[in-house]
């Protein structure tokens, strides 16, 4: 069918072309240029070309490496727990029972609330004389100073992330579970399989693509952790919670070293892109392929 004129089609399509050019490709090219200069908006005079200096500097900067390490710890330390908790929740709320949707909604709730709000709440809960320590004292357990102690600050933020993100991935797992044909379970039951047999031989193997998807999406997201750190610790104490994006933010908006920040941003971009490409490969069959 050829219903639409060229002009109408392009008019309807123009917003994407404009947005992609202005807020996608152009910024991309502009900051690539900036990453090879000493551009800074607060200094008089234009930007000087400095070649690869910014990249060399980043790779020799201990603070950059330590922020990468912090981010890595965050990713490795949260994802197994988030994934397991999300999977367990999904398995628990998948079968039909009365009040099921209330549980689904309740577990998902932290995912719709602002990270700033969650961070403020947890900052209050983690206070040395806060409610968490009151509870621990009641149980006769040690009461660390959580966000004020370099040893416990990062784990405290990580625990909050596991709590807040699990519900979201629970829903993705539910989608994966719904896609497994009922007949497989019916057949297995006829053969006398138990719930555990079904889990190990049917559910988990068929859930593998969803599992990979959840892990990759969560990794890409975790590389960008920022608001939690900004609200709860400002990267401290002793830089123990300074993630890559927080480091980037400090370089760009406290020191206004935008040339250097552009270079660090590019390094982060490449890292994220590699992961996102892996993600596209994983889900390519369902997304890009679905419309062709």
């Amino acid at each position: 069918m050829r219903a639409y004129s060229r002009a109408t089609s392009w008019t309807l399509f123009a917003p994407w072309v404009l947005a992609f050019a202005m807020f996608g490709l152009f910024p991309f090219a502009f900051s690539l240029w900036a990453s090879f200069t000493d551009y800074s908006p607060i200094r008089a005079g234009g930007a000087r070309f400095v070649g690869l200096d910014n990249y060399v500097r980043a790779l020799h900067e201990p603070a950059f490496w330590s922020s990468l390490q912090t981010t890595g710890t965050f990713v490795i330390g949260t994802i197994p727990f988030t994934t397991l908790l999300a999977l367990a929740l999904a398995l628990a709320v998948q079968p039909a029972f009365r009040g099921r949707s209330m549980f689904r909604v309740g577990f998902f709730l932290p995912s719709v609330v602002s990270v700033v709000v969650l961070s403020l709440v947890f900052k209050g809960l983690y206070a040395p004389n806060g409610s968490l320590n009151a509870l621990l004292r009641l149980a006769g357990l040690p009461t660390p100073s959580w966000l004020l102690d370099p040893r416990t600050a990062l784990p405290a933020i990580m625990a909050m992330d596991v709590w807040s993100a699990s519900g979201y991935y629970m829903v993705i797992f539910l989608a994966g579970l719904e896609a497994i044909p009922r007949e497989l379970y019916d057949a297995a039951r006829l053969e006398g399989a138990t719930w555990r047999d079904c889990l190990i031989h049917i559910t988990l193997p068929l859930l593998r693509p969803t599992l990979l998807f959840v892990i990759v999406v969560n990794t890409v997201r975790s590389l960008q952790i920022f608001a939690e750190v900004f609200v709860m610790t400002r990267g401290g104490p002793l830089h123990s919670t300074s993630t890559v994006v927080y480091y980037l933010y400090e370089q760009a908006f406290y020191r206004f070293d935008l040339g250097y920040a552009s270079a660090v941003g590019y390094l982060l971009f490449v890292l994220t892109l590699l992961l996102a490409l892996a993600q596209m490969k994983l889900v390519g069959g369902r997304t890009a392929g679905a419309g062709a």
Binding site: F13, P27, S31, F108, G124, A134, I172, A227, F230, T287
Partner: protein, 290 residues
């Protein structure tokens, strides 16, 4: 940013639900899921209790043992700053949702019906954009907004988010499942391009546009990083940024006031989520079934 897509089938008529299971079996599940749910929701209980107490100092037991009242909320709405933040959040979110729905409808439709050359190229750009978190463009976008002299304006909070790859993608997937016949019939009847789009296509797309509106509201209302770096003036701050900065002021933290602000910031998204949870969750669920 998931493979979630809403399809006409998923958002249209719901299948006939099987009869609800007996109470006995459900009660068993409640026995162990109930405590889990309560413990996961405890932080919200803390937030609400502290916000209602005048002298909790951030302690749940002190909040619950003392008198509860709306003093903090009165102080909140009496404060010029917080009122302004709330207005800004609502204003920006409404604009972004409106623009998002409009652009996703038009772009997604054109893309699905392959009305412009280079469909592969555009689709690749959209999928690549939706896979990458926007934060990786933090510095580039800041530089561009500085160049365009849009920093510290409402435009900075709206324009970069007016066209969203994920929204477009959802509409595209939805339209792929719609039949062509209605559009063809309208064309035969002599309807103009514009009439076909506004009178036939948009109504057909309304279920997915509702999902786009909900999702973009949730995302924008909670947006933090870009409003933080794009805005300098206090009078343009949105609620999340205002609350975050308020919590870090020199004075000792007033937990009651802060949690009243947090509650006010959370209620709209919680209300939207609870009201439209079927749309949101079933939209997410439908996607992975493809």
């Amino acid at each position: 940013m998931t493979a979630a897509t809403a399809t006409p089938a998923a958002l249209g008529e719901r299948e006939l639900a099987p009869p609800p299971p007996p109470w006995g079996a459900s009660a068993l599940r409640w026995l162990w899921l109930g405590p889990l749910l309560v413990s996961m929701l405890l932080p919200f209980v803390w937030m609400a209790a502290v916000s209602l107490s005048a002298s909790s100092g951030g302690s749940l037991s002190r909040a619950l043992s003392g008198p509860l009242g709306l003093d903090n909320y009165r102080a909140l709405f009496g404060s010029a700053h917080l009122g302004r933040y709330l207005f800004n959040s609502a204003f920006v979110a409404s604009l972004v949702v409106l623009l998002n729905v409009a652009t996703a409808a038009s772009v997604g439709y054109v893309l699905a019906r392959q009305r412009v050359p280079g469909e592969k190229f555009w689709s690749f750009g959209i999928v690549a954009t939706l896979m990458l978190p926007k934060q990786v463009l933090m510095i580039p976008l800041y530089l561009v907004m500085a160049r365009l002299r849009l920093l510290d304006t409402y435009s900075a909070l709206v324009l970069p988010f007016a066209v969203d790859a994920f929204s477009i993608f959802m509409v595209r997937q939805y339209v792929l499942g719609l039949p062509h016949e209605l559009e063809e019939a309208a064309r035969v009847d002599g309807a103009s391009d514009w009439m076909i789009f506004t009178r036939i296509v948009v109504p057909l797309m309304s279920p997915v546009l509702a999902v786009v509106a909900i999702q973009s509201f949730l995302a924008n209302w909670n947006s933090f990083l870009f409003p933080l770096i794009f805005i300098d003036s206090d009078r343009l701050r949105t609620l999340p940024v205002g609350l975050a900065l308020l919590s870090q002021s020199e004075h000792s933290v007033d937990w009651g006031f802060l949690m009243a602000g947090s509650t006010v910031a959370s209620l709209p998204v919680i209300a939207v989520f609870v009201a439209f949870q079927r749309h949101i969750l079933s939209g997410l669920l439908a996607g992975a079934e493809k």
